[in-house]
Amino acid sequence: MTTAPSIVSAAAALPLATQLIHLFAALLLLLSFAMLAQRRVVNLVNLFAAQGATLVACAVVVAYSSHQSDLYQSAALTFVLKVLVLPYVLHKLIGRLQAEWDTETLVNIPTMQIIGILLVIFAFVLAQPISQFAGAATRSTLGIAIAVVFLAFLMMIVRRKAIAQVVGFLAMENGLLFAAISATHGMPMVVELGIGLDVLVGVFILGIFFFQIREQFDSLDLQHMETLKED
């Protein structure tokens, strides 16, 4: 019952940069859960942009603390792509599709969030053996990165709207990028450029798809897409 046990100072002893990285990592996780529970498609895109911005902030802090100039470029790339271009394109698409007020009936948000928590625990367990080899500042964030990937996965599984599935796909990519930042301080620039290009082109293609799907099915609801069965 003595005051101020030494455990308290453990967190305080970490440098400010690490604390900031932890804070951003926690924020990323929170945003993932928020996306899981968000009903309106437009808000989903905004949450995605916020997730991108958090990722950029995290990358900048990591770059600053580890003196890696490559990571600044990567952060700039992420900023342009994930915070500016993709949300803009998605908003444009939603506007063109007149889907601003589209909502989705989500069944049983509490259950989904419990599943989400289980996924987070699983991700943490999975990350444990890997993260012991990582650098000090980003060691513990790998679990969160995997959790973000899993949660995006879950979102893609439970969502029925085409746009929501695509946002889930992009959120998964965010998680992977965060994994790359936290495990290895980012991938080589060539690879990151390639990934970015793929994602951008992918979103454009899917954007075209939205129109075709709506033209053919009169809806962006993927429930209509169940004619091809395994038989």
Partner: protein, 316 residues
């Protein structure tokens, strides 16, 4: 247990009991300001209590002795809770007998008895209110426990004064886990104290009320005690919040009795800010349908668990 400790303990409890109606009055006043109404005087709860104490109690013919006993029990439980929650000082000798888990148990005890009293007369409203209260309580309790566990893990103790002292003495650090826990705690506070968006403390609309439905049958001194206990509960929750998330400005174990006085202004300041914040949340948010309340509390639980997980993952 020395004389100074006992004095501190008594002084803290007395302060809580006396300040609690003032805090409720302050929240009501802020709400009135924020919704552009003329604010009631801040002393209104006191005069209301005095008025109620002077009235003659009317009790339903079918009431059992339990119905009469519950207001005293409620009030007693809340006073006991106030004794183990640090408000002015972290040196509370009485707190050694009950940790945060016992505290949650105390709140649960109060809830069980008020729910029993609500059903005692056998009116429709009372039963409905009790049922809803139990629903909310059963969802809010795990979330509250998770919040308390997170801070216990950080400070290495389940005694609230020790947690507060530990957090107070540590250097300023960003605890991501505490941020999660803080948000979850605010949500639990709103739900447990019959606030919007879960309940509305001022409503008497039968479809929506929870807390008011249970106490409809009380009058006079019984009602006064129930209301006083409710405001004390809110005050207690606020003090738990301060102990966990804003532990600065409290007197410590080594400080003398005189340090209680300089600890008063920070407490009042924190109360003022917290009251305004509660009023602001209540004004800005809409009341949820009762069926959405589980969703709200599940989110609180989720945040609390996330806080715990983030602590285990990041801050270990």
């Amino acid at each position: 247990m020395n004389a100074a400790g006992i004095f501190t303990q008594l002084f803290a409890v007395a302060t809580s009991v006396m300040l609690a109606p003032l805090f409720s009055g302050w929240v009501a006043q802020c709400r009135a300001w924020l919704s552009n109404r003329t604010a009631p005087p801040i002393w209104l709860p006191y005069s209301r209590l005095r008025k109620l104490f002077h009235k003659d109690a009317v009790i339903a013919r079918d009431a059992t002795p339990l119905f009469r006993a519950v207001p005293y029990l409620l009030f007693g439980v809340m006073v006991a809770a106030a004794a183990i929650i640090p408000s002015l000082s972290t040196d509370l000798p009485f707190a050694a007998v009950a940790d945060t888990i016992a505290l949650v148990g105390l709140f649960a005890l109060a809830r069980v008895f008020i729910a029993l009293a609500g059903m005692d007369i056998g009116t429709a409203f009372g039963s409905m209110g009790s049922r809803r209260e139990m629903l909310v309580g059963f969802l809010a309790e795990p979330a509250l426990l998770m919040v308390l566990f997170t801070s216990s893990l950080i400070s290495g103790s389940t005694l609230l004064p020790t947690i507060a002292a530990a957090l107070q003495s540590s250097a300023l650090a960003i605890h991501a886990s505490l941020a999660f826990a803080g948000v979850a705690f605010v949500m639990v506070l709103l739900a447990e104290n019959a606030r919007i968006p879960v309940d509305n403390p001022t409503t008497h609309l039968e479809l929506t009320m929870i807390h008011e439905a249970m106490v409809l049958e009380y009058s006079a001194r019984h009602l006064a005690l129930v209301e006083w206990a409710s405001s004390l509960k809110l005050f207690n929750y606020a003090c738990i919040g301060f102990a966990l998330f804003l532990p600065w400005g409290m007197a410590g174990r080594a400080d003398g009795v005189l340090w209680l006085l300089p600890a008063l202004p920070p407490l009042l300041l924190k109360l003022a800010v917290a009251g305004f914040a509660i009023a602001l949340i209540e004004t800005l948010s809409a009341k949820l349908r009762i069926f959405r309340a589980p969703e709200f509390l599940a989110t609180a639980f989720l945040l609390a668990v996330l806080g715990l997980l983030v602590h285990l993952m990041l801050e270990h």
